[in-house]
Every structure is written in structure tokens, then in C-alpha cells.
């Protein structure tokens, strides 16, 4: 064989398997061979089929599927359950080779795949195929019953793939430990190895996918949970560890005006709100408020409830004035109730994903999310919850979910660990005091929003839901009747203070009036004195004028001819005549 020049860059073929294309940075290596390995029921065939269907639909690339294990009819029927119309694709884009040997075929000596490969090559050329799947090749090769011959045939396939330049997908069973050994060399031979695993933990089935090897490309080597949804295989997508979400500054109302104030404007759009609390602490009520507020804004909303029927929720919330029914009718609100028992957690989240895709909500309620995860104390279920919430965040959906606390413990830790990815965490607890049980609401945390650190009392009545200030007195938080009493006391005190203030004001007014009166007296007295002064001045002035006149008359009588100016001065100045008088003397 001649040495081929290495292909410089690995180009990739998208599989359309949600999540897989992300963790491998674009899908399967193009022009190279991928081994998909797993036990029965892991989804190996689905994996391969999905890649082909995706190629046919998205990039219009044709493919060949060689089925060694199942009949073409079976595969077509299985594919139809995922909504893949293989017969339609088969016309141009897909060629099926039923490579099963009928059971009555007798083996008489060694055989090989030379003929089959030449047939496939001719067919691939004819339809211009880019990809080929060998599904269940071990079924055929085990007939050889000779490990050396088996290996030879596998190398033959590899060489053939390399020579034709087709992208190869080989599926292989991995249940029997010795079978594992037998084909272990396959893993070394191929460029990419995908391991599918099916395990049962506590009666719940988990499917996982792991990329074990990928030559010439980076990939996430972790084991990822997968689900078989009605759209095919799906990685419960954790994706790459780098989190990239669209961040939004917009706020949406919690449906409770007072709570919006406490959060300085409501929840962030696209954020994840956790409401935790003991049973009966009105968690569902808060969910209902949120849902109704969303619908009133005209937003599509999905309300998922576990172990409680939708009709019952509608009735119960109606009793506190939260009307869901009109929004159900308008189609904005979709209620979905399911049991936590039944399919495994992964599948349930897969189901929820499908429902989210179908209804396209911008607001989502999950009540309670812990119902799914308390079922299993496994890391896997918490993972599943987290990944689901991650997915919702990626979609920009505002989520309000509740988490049930065990009993009445005041412990604020949640079993699910989802509290760490909750952006806003509201805790509702009971405060038992003076023979009463009251609900206390606090905001434990709220990322990116200022928030009140105050405890508020949550009260439910026919009129609706309200948050009330609580009173802190003598180091105690007062709620319920105690708060009411405190309020009454407060009011009485206020009244007393008011009266006292009124009295004081009156007294002051009186004093002011007295002062004013005194001022009036003084003023009047002032006026009187002024008058007296005026009178005095008048009297003195006329007396001197009289004297001056008398003197003038006298002088006239004496025929005095001098000092006319003097006489004039006398008229102007009061004192001059006195001088004149002196002179005269």
C-alpha cells in the first residue's frame, strides 16, 4: 500500500444530535472512521441513523447504511418513531443494504468482504454518498469464528474506507466482556470512539455517552447523560464548561408588587428563581402569581407540576384570587402535570424539553423541581436538573421553580444543589409563635439585583396575596396576631402622641398671643410718649416765638433802626433772640 499524504485538518460532519456536536466541536471526523460502542438498547443504531438523516436533510449528502443485524423494514419502522421518513430519503439520499445472512445459510470455509465492499463502492459512487454506516458488523464477523480472519476483515474495511474517502461509522456491541476483548483493537484502529452506556441505578435507567478518543480534535471527555426523545438521541446538554448566555437587564414582575419592590424591580428576565420552603408555605401561590403576571403581559407560559393535577392547581390558586383559567383558554398558559414515578429522570427532562420546544414559553414554572430530584439521591439526577435549567437559561426563559424542604426544618440547604445555579432564591418559612403559624418570606440571594434583607410576612386571603412588614420588638419578630396587636398598640401610641402634640401647640399659641398682646401695649405706650414729646416741643416753640415777637414790638416802639438781620434771625433760630437779648441788656 502506498503511503497517503496526511489530511491536514480534521473537517467534521454534523450529526444533528443535540449536544454531541457541541462536545466534539462539530460532529464526527469527516473522511475518517468512528466507532460507536455500547451494550444493547444504548442507541447505537439511532446514533448512526440520526447522523445520516441529518446529513441528508441538512447538507443533502447521500449515505449508505449497511445493516448486519436488523432488517431494513425494522430500521425504517424504528426511524419512523423519531419522525424520520426513511423511505422518502431512500429514493435519493440513502441506500440501505440488508446485509443479514439468512439463518439457513451454511458456512463452508472462510469467506471475506471483498465482494460486498466492491458492491458498496459502486453504489456509493452511483448516489455520490459521503458517509457509510456498518451497523452490527460483529454479527457477520462472528460467523468467521476466527479472530485472525475477523481482524483481517476489519482492516479490510478500514483500508476500504480510507481508499474511498467515505466517513465511516461502525457500531459494535460491548456487552459481553470477552466480546470486548475480541474487538478491542477496533478502538485503536479508528479515529474516533464514542461509548454508549446503559445503566440502572435504583430502578431508574440512565443512558450515557462518552467520547473516548478523537484523533486530531479536542473534545469533552466526560460522560454525558443522553435521552431518546421523539426527535432522536439527545445529550442532556451540559455542553462545554464555558457558560455563555445572553444576559438581559430587563426585569419581569414576580406578580407580587411588594416582592418586586424587595427585589428592586422584579426578577431578571431569563433568570432562574428558586422558591424553597416547607409544605404549605405558599410556594405554589407565588408560582401562580408569576404565571398570571406573565400571561397578563402576553407572554407564553408553561406551568409544569408534579404529582398534582392541573385542574386542582387551578382551583386551589383560584381560592386566593389567582385566576389561571382565562389564560389557559387564551392559549398563553399551558399546564402540564405529570407523575414523578415512571420514566427515569433523564427521560422526564427530555420530555420537558420537548414540551418547552412545542409551547415556546418565555416564562416557565416547575412546581416542584425537587420532586424530580428527591427521587434519586444520585449525582446524576442533580446533574439532570442542572442541565435542564442550563438549557432553559440558554433559551432565555425565565424560570420559577420550587423546592420542597424536608419537614419543617429551617435548614435552608436544598437537596438538589440547584440552589447554586439559582439566580434568585426566595425562602418561605413558618414562624410559630403565640400559638400561631405564620409565613415569613425572605430573599436569600438575588444575583445582579439589589434586594431587601428584611423578613416579610406573607398573608393569603380571599382577596389575594400580600406581603406585610413584620415588627421587631424586644428582639422578636412579630407576625400574625402579635403583629396585629403591635399595630394596634402602635396606633394608640401614635394617637397619644398626636394629642400631646396638639396640646403643646395650643399652649404655645397662647403664649404667642400673650406676647403679641404685650407687644401691643408697649407699642401703644410708645405712641403715647411720642405724642407727649411732640406736645412738649410745640409748647416750647410757641413760647419762644412769643418772646421774640414781644421784643420786636418793643424795639419798634423804641424806634430802634439797627439789627434788622437780628430780627430776621430771631425768626429762624430759637436761640438767637436770647443772645440779642443779652446784647440788648
Amino acid at each position: 500500500m502506498k503511503i497517503q499524504s496526511p489530511r491536514p485538518v480534521v473537517t467534521k460532519m454534523l450529526t444533528g444530535i443535540q449536544g454531541f456536536d457541541e462536545i466534539t466541536g462539530g460532529g464526527l471526523p469527516r473522511g475518517r472512521t468512528t466507532l460507536v460502542k455500547g451494550g444493547p438498547g444504548c442507541g447505537k443504531t439511532v446514533f448512526a441513523l440520526q447522523a445520516l438523516v441529518n446529513a441528508a436533510q441538512r447538507t443533502k449528502e447521500a449515505s449508505v447504511f449497511v445493516a448486519f443485524e436488523e432488517s431494513t423494514r425494522q430500521i425504517v419502522a424504528n426511524a419512523a418513531t423519531f419522525g424520520w421518513d426513511l423511505p422518502a430519503l431512500e429514493k435519493k439520499k440513502l441506500f440501505f443494504l440488508d446485509a443479514r445472512l439468512s439463518p439457513d445459510v451454511v458456512k463452508a470455509g472462510e469467506f471475506d468482504l471483498v465482494g460486498m465492499l466492491s458492491v458498496l463502492e459502486a453504489k456509493a459512487k452511483q448516489i455520490d454518498a459521503r458517509c457509510i454506516v456498518f451497523d452490527g458488523i460483529d454479527v457477520l464477523l462472528s460467523l468467521l469464528d476466527d479472530s485472525v480472519a475477523e481482524r483481517r476483515e476489519i482492516y479490510r474495511i478500514r483500508d476500504w474506507l480510507s481508499h474511498t474517502g467515505l466517513t465511516g461509522i461502525i457500531t459494535q456491541k460491548a456487552s459481553a466482556p470477552d466480546g470486548d476483548q475480541r474487538y478491542s483493537f477496533l478502538q485503536f484502529m479508528v479515529d474516533c470512539v464514542v461509548i454508549l452506556r446503559h445503566q440502572v441505578l435504583d430502578g431508574s435507567a440512565f443512558r450515557n455517552l462518552r467520547v473516548m478518543k478523537y484523533r486530531g480534535s479536542g473534545f469533552s471527555a466526560d460522560e454525558f447523560p443522553i435521552t431518546l426523545t421523539n426527535a432522536g438521541l439527545q445529550l442532556t446538554n451540559r455542553g462545554p464548561t464555558e457558560l455563555q448566555y445572553e444576559v438581559c437587564d430587563e426585569r419581569v414582575s414576580s406578580g407580587l408588587p411588594r416582592l418586586d419592590v424587595m427585589l428592586r424591580g422584579g426578577y431578571h428576565r431569563g433568570s432562574n428563581v428558586l422558591i424553597s420552603g416547607a409544605p404549605g408555605t405558599a410556594k405554589s401561590t407565588l408560582c401562580g402569581l408569576f404565571a398570571v403576571a406573565a400571561c397578563k403581559r402576553g407572554e407564553r407560559t408553561l406551568y409544569v407540576s408534579f404529582d398534582e393535577g392541573a385542574a386542582q392547581i387551578v382551583r386551589n390558586l383560584g381560592s386566593v384570587g389567582i385566576a389561571l383559567a382565562p389564560h389557559q383558554k387564551s392559549g398563553l398558559l399551558k399546564m402540564y402535570s405529570t407523575r414523578t414515578r415512571g420514566p427515569n429522570v433523564e427521560d422526564q427532562f427530555g420530555d420537558l424539553r420537548a414540551r418547552v420546544r412545542a409551547h415556546r414559553p418565555t416564562c416557565l414554572v416547575i412546581d416542584p423541581l425537587s420532586a424530580l430530584s428527591t427521587k434519586l439521591a444520585h449525582v446524576a439526577s442533580a446533574d439532570a436538573a442542572q442541565q435542564f435549567l442550563d438549557f432553559l437559561k440558554g433559551e432565555g426563559i425565565t424560570v420559577v421553580n420550587t423546592s420542597l424542604m424536608d419537614g419543617l426544618s429551617t435548614d435552608e440547604a436544598t437537596a438538589t444543589g440547584i440552589s447554586t445555579i439559582a439566580d434568585t432564591w426566595i425562602h418561605v418559612s413558618y414562624v410559630v409563635q403565640d400559638g400561631e403559624r405564620n409565613r415569613a418570606l425572605t430573599i436569600v440571594k438575588s444575583r445582579g439585583t439589589g434586594h431587601s434583607n428584611q423578613v416579610r410576612e406573607l398573608t393569603l386571603s380571599d382577596e389575594g396575596v400580600t406581603l406585610t412588614d413584620v415588627f421587631v420588638a424586644q428582639g422578636k419578630v412579630l407576625m400574625g396576631v402579635a403583629r396585629w396587636e403591635w399595630e394596634q398598640e402602635e396606633q394608640a401610641t401614635k394617637k397619644r402622641t398626636q394629642v400631646a402634640a396638639d396640646l403643646k401647640r395650643l399652649q404655645l399659641q397662647l403664649a404667642q398671643a400673650e406676647a403679641a398682646a404685650r407687644l401691643q401695649v408697649v407699642q401703644t405706650e410708645m405712641e403715647a410718649r411720642s405724642a407727649e414729646i411732640a406736645v412738649l416741643a410745640l409748647a416750647t416753640g410757641s413760647a419762644s416765638r412769643l418772646v421774640a415777637t414781644d421784643r420786636a414790638v418793643l424795639r419798634k416802639m423804641r424806634h430802634a433802626d439797627e439789627e434788622v438781620g437780628l430780627a430776621t434771625r430771631t425768626g429762624a433760630k430759637g436761640r438767637a433772640p436770647r443772645n440779642g437779648e443779652g446784647e440788648v441788656r
Binding site: 451454511v106 469467506f111 471475506d112 466492491s118
Partner: protein, 97 residues
């Protein structure tokens, strides 16, 4: 048994091979030897089809591996895969009802 079948129809065999692949060459040799040894008295036909030259025929006839020997007549059709080195097995099939 073989003679009973020979009364009405000849034994018609078709051998699918892939060019000069070792197993194919061996199968041709084995088939010829077998016919010469066991079916001299019977009127028989042995057709050899090279899949490298006629790939579409393999598809039509449902041949997966090479070499494959098919008994077209007498019916029902029978198939043997492999290089026919196990002549006992081959004879069992060819002589079967």
C-alpha cells in the same frame, strides 16, 4: 438423492466471487473439484459471477459475502458461504431437499 433430482432438472449452481481474492480463487477450485467428483453423472451447470465486474447483480441476488455458492435449481434455492473447503457441508446443502 442427487440422482432423484437429476431426473427432472439439472443442478444449476452459481458461484459469486470477488476477483482474485484468495478465498474466491479457492472457492472456484473447490467448486469445480466438487462437481467433477460428485456430480459427473448429473447434468449440472456452474456459473461464476465476479462481483467486481457485476456489482449490481450481487445486490439483486442478495449476496453479502464472497464467496457465496447458490443452488438455483432444484428449488428451494440454497446458499453456502465460504471458500467451500468444507466439502461435507457443501454436499449436505447441495443434496438437500
Amino acid at each position: 438423492m442427487g440422482k432423484a433430482g437429476g431426473k427432472k432438472a439439472a443442478l444449476v449452481l452459481r458461484l459469486y466471487v470477488a476477483g482474485s481474492a484468495p478465498n474466491s480463487l479457492r472457492a472456484i477450485a473447490n467448486a469445480r473439484a466438487l462437481c467433477a467428483e460428485h456430480f459427473v453423472a448429473t447434468r449440472h451447470e456452474l456459473e461464476i459471477v465476479d462481483l467486481l465486474l457485476h456489482p449490481e447483480q450481487a445486490m439483486a441476488d442478495g449476496v453479502i459475502v464472497t464467496p457465496t455458492l447458490v443452488r438455483l435449481s432444484p428449488l428451494p434455492a440454497r446458499k453456502v458461504i465460504g471458500n467451500l473447503s468444507d466439502s461435507k457441508q457443501v454436499l449436505l446443502v447441495l443434496n438437500s431437499q
